[in-house]
């Protein structure tokens, strides 16, 4: 019999298409799994309003469940809005291993021209890094460079 636990364990294999080491649960995008009206109802939330990965995530969820013979519906909710607090502890470790600096627990100050958040290099752990741009390769990342090992890297920016 299909249980909520089995659905959750199958969904553990569904990852963010842009960051393939993070499961949707790690990322905090997976909000709920429920059996209602003879169907499994899966609820997800976008990281950013225009995140183009959300449609892929929805398709990947349906495909994964179909492999196990489960028909489901995916719903999108906006509230409570996703923030980096939804990222799991194991997700933060996986991000760093993948070469993306996990969010520091500090939002970039709204003060104009404030010094950017200090983000340690995910490769050499040096704190001597600089922000290249507030906007990076995807909506959820900023672009940094390490001044010690010279490696450019993505920073998963803190969103509160």
């Amino acid at each position: 019999m299909v249980t909520k636990e089995s659905i959750l364990s199958w969904l553990d294999e569904v990852c963010d298409p842009e960051i393939p080491v993070l499961s949707l649960a790690d990322l905090g995008v997976l909000r709920g799994v429920e059996y209602l009206n003879d169907e499994w109802q899966i609820t997800i939330t976008p990281t950013y309003s225009g995140c183009p990965a959300i449609k892929t995530m929805e398709d990947d969820i349906l495909l994964k469940l179909k492999e196990h013979g489960v028909v489901a519906k995916v719903h999108l909710v906006l509230s409570p809005a996703w923030s980096t607090d939804w990222l799991s502890e194991s997700g933060r470790v996986k991000l760093k291993e993948f070469g993306i600096a996990p969010p520091e627990n500090e939002v970039d100050k709204s003060v104009l021209f404030a010094a950017p958040t200090v983000v340690p290099c995910p490769r050499c752990n040096s704190r001597e890094t600089k922000m290249v741009s507030q906007f990076g390769s995807t909506a959820c990342k900023a672009h940094y460079q390490c001044l010690i090992c010279s490696e450019p890297f993505d920073y998963f920016k803190c969103l509160k």
């Binding site: 309003s49 809005a81 104009l112 290249v132 741009s133 507030q134 906007f135 909506a139 509160k160």
Partner: protein, 251 residues
């Protein structure tokens, strides 16, 4: 329609986001430096994402089964309710940053107030969008100051942009008689509150940027009533081409 006043209000918000998002997207591959190219397209993506949520909700209020695609791709110019400011051509980088700054300074306090909306869906969209808009306003404020208080060339370009765009700013605070009922039921804030916040942000940033507000305060309006400048038609031709040429096509 259950609530025509609310439909019109949400449509205005959605059209503002969509049209500005489309305009900014035109910079893709043409930014002055790679980082700014990426920044502008990131902001564009946020705006288009917000437009999707807003237009979906407008479609729901309309109750005729229209989703964001139907509203974005299958309406004519005079059915759009965006403010004229947002359809103005990009011009140079200073002009694009100035237009974006004047808009972000309006959107941020608006979303802050809409967080408390008695309409749950509007509050949810505002909660999501505000987090993004804060980043946008910080980015554009810094650019307006850098350009205005920069070299002679950048100062002159930023001042020209301000002189050109100032005449479109009053329209952002357009309110209809129907909106009064929305304000009374706590669904949306009164625009004079938003204008106070906007003025505060704009005056302090422009002062730091050493830019001067034009003394001629002649203001254009029309977009909120569907009367647009010639620029919107060209923008829509680009935006809607595929759906018009191949109706119901899917990627």
């Amino acid at each position: 329609m259950k609530n025509e006043a609310l439909y019109n209000y949400v449509l205005r918000l959605g059209d503002d986001s969509l049209i500005l998002g489309q305009r900014l997207g035109e910079w893709c591959g043409h930014g002055p430096i790679l980082e700014e190219d990426i920044a502008m397209t990131n902001i564009s993506l946020d705006l288009i994402g917000q437009a999707m949520s807003l237009l979906d909700y407008a479609g729901e209020l309309d109750g005729q089964g229209k989703d964001h695609d139907a509203l974005a791709f299958l309406r004519f110019e005079n059915e759009y309710r965006n403010a004229l400011l947002l359809e103005q051509p990009n011009g140079d980088f200073a002009n694009t940053m100035m237009r974006q700054f004047l808009f972000d300074a309006f959107r941020k306090p608006l979303y802050e107030k809409l967080l408390d909306s008695t309409d749950k869906q509007i509050a949810a969209i505002a909660e999501k969008s505000l987090k993004e808009t804060r980043y946008h306003l910080k980015h554009t404020s810094e650019w307006v100051i850098r350009l205005g208080d920069g070299t002679d060339e950048s100062h002159q370009r930023a001042q020209t942009a301000l002189d050109l765009l100032w005449r479109y700013t009053d329209e952002l605070f357009f309110e209809t008689a129907d909106d009064v009922s929305l304000v009374a039921s706590g669904i949306v804030p009164a625009m004079n509150e938003i204008k106070t916040q906007w003025s505060k942000t704009v005056l302090s940033v422009l002062e730091e940027a050493t830019l001067i507000i034009p003394t001629n305060n002649w203001q254009f309006e029309g977009g909120r009533k569907g009367v647009h400048s010639e620029h919107l038609g060209f923008l829509l031709a680009d935006l809607q081409y595929m759906q018009r040429a191949y109706p119901n096509m899917k990627w």
